[in-house]
Amino acid sequence: MEKTLARGCGVALPEQVSFLIKSGSFLTACAAILYVLLAADYPAVHDTLHNFRHGLAIVPCH
């Protein structure tokens, strides 16, 4: 996708900037997923992962 964009727009990002953007997006996605899995109180997710949360010893639950 990065190559297609570069070809289409005629610009290519420096490698470090490209890495930073991709890493930032990846970390944001991971943080959101971890929040839903380990911290959110949606009943379906919470009930399914209740024992998993307690099993990690440092994740607060009720």
Binding site: F19, L34, L37, A39, D41, L49, L56, P60, C61
Partner: protein
């Protein structure tokens, strides 16, 4: 006088100091199983207290006022029950029988518990002691946390390698396999004995985070007052099928009450069974659903930050491994 003799003398004097506090009753504490085997929400622990008079014999009259406090919040990470941390778990008054009082309790979290005990007689408070008890976390929980952290690190590392552009002419040799598996109001029935006495069991609305009043009493028999009874009170966590609190054959004057902190938002059964000499056993039972309270987001931040940081470190290591010149 040699140094050895002086040290020996000092030791004897130090050992004798408690005995010098003449007339003051002594309170001793014992738990079974021993501290090394205690784990949170695992097996109930039998806690017993012994009170002896100045002459070393168990006292015959009196009560123990017992308060159990949960470990205080400590360190960066919370336990899995943050609302329990630093709270009062139990407050009750137990009568002494042959100088002893005993109860069963299931410790909910890891950490250092404090048990404050006051020995009280009709004349007032006679002695006070505070005991502490360290409960360690399950080893398998730490192992599981380690595996989960490693999985996050590995996912970060793989992503770091993918996001790093390979140098010209180099072939991508990446085989990644990530496997994350996640294992992951009460009704009451009372009265077995309908002859002369009946029991009443009251439990206030229970919410995690604060103690709840548990109150049991026998009916009065035609104005004759409440009889003495050997009360067995048991609180059971129904989902885990574990006894979280129990006192057995506690001689009470027809009534008993205590403050109990239900540490988990789940269904519980409170069962009171009273043996009255010359009468049938009075059994009173109550089921209750404890309202769970979700911990605040602030309590979750340390763990979430830690996991994201592990992934970020993985990303850095992945990039470094891709960039590092071979050999």
């Amino acid at each position: 006088m040699s140094l050895k003799t002086a040290l020996g003398f000092l030791f004897i004097v130090a050992s004798a100091i408690p005995a010098l506090r003449a007339g003051e009753p002594q309170i001793y504490f014992k738990n079974s199983p021993p501290v090394e085997q205690l784990r949170p929400f695992y097996d109930p622990t039998t806690l017993s207290l012994l009170v002896t008079a100045a002459d070393g014999r168990p006292v015959t009259q009196g009560w123990l006022e017992i308060r159990l406090d949960a470990p205080k919040p400590s360190g960066f990470f919370s336990t899995d029950f943050p609302l329990v941390e630093g709270s009062r778990l139990l407050e009750m008054r137990l009568p002494l029988r042959s100088g002893r009082a005993e109860w069963t309790y299931l410790f909910p979290i890891r950490g250092k518990y404090e048990i404050s005990v006051d020995f009280v007689t009709a004349e007032g408070k006679q002695a006070t002691r505070t005991f502490s008890l360290q409960v360690r976390e399950h080893t398998n929980k730490w192992t599981f946390l380690g595996i989960f952290t490693l999985a996050l690190f590995a996912s970060g590392m793989v992503a770091g390698r993918i996001f790093t552009r390979a140098s010209r002419g180099a072939k991508d040799k990446l085989v990644a396999c990530l496997l994350l598996s996640f294992v992951c109001s009460g009704s009451s029935a009372a009265l077995a004995a309908r002859e002369e006495y009946s029991g009443w069991l009251g439990v206030d609305a229970a919410t995690v985070g604060k103690p709840t009043r548990v109150h049991w009493r026998l009916s009065e028999n035609g104005g004759g007052g409440r009889p003495r009874a050997a009360l067995t009170l048991t609180i059971t966590h129904l989902e885990k099928s574990k006894i979280v609190f129990a006192v057995e054959r506690l001689w009470v004057a027809g009534e008993f009450s205590m403050d109990f902190h239900f540490s988990d938002g789940a269904n519980y059964r409170v069962l009171a069974s009273a043996e009255i000499p010359g009468y049938r056993t009075v059994r009173t039972e109550r089921y209750l659903s404890v309202t769970g309270v979700e911990p605040q987001v602030a309590a979750m931040l340390p763990a979430l930050s830690f996991f994201v940081a592990v992934i970020a470190i993985g990303l850095g290591v992945g990039r470094w491994s891709k960039k590092a010149p071979p050999g």
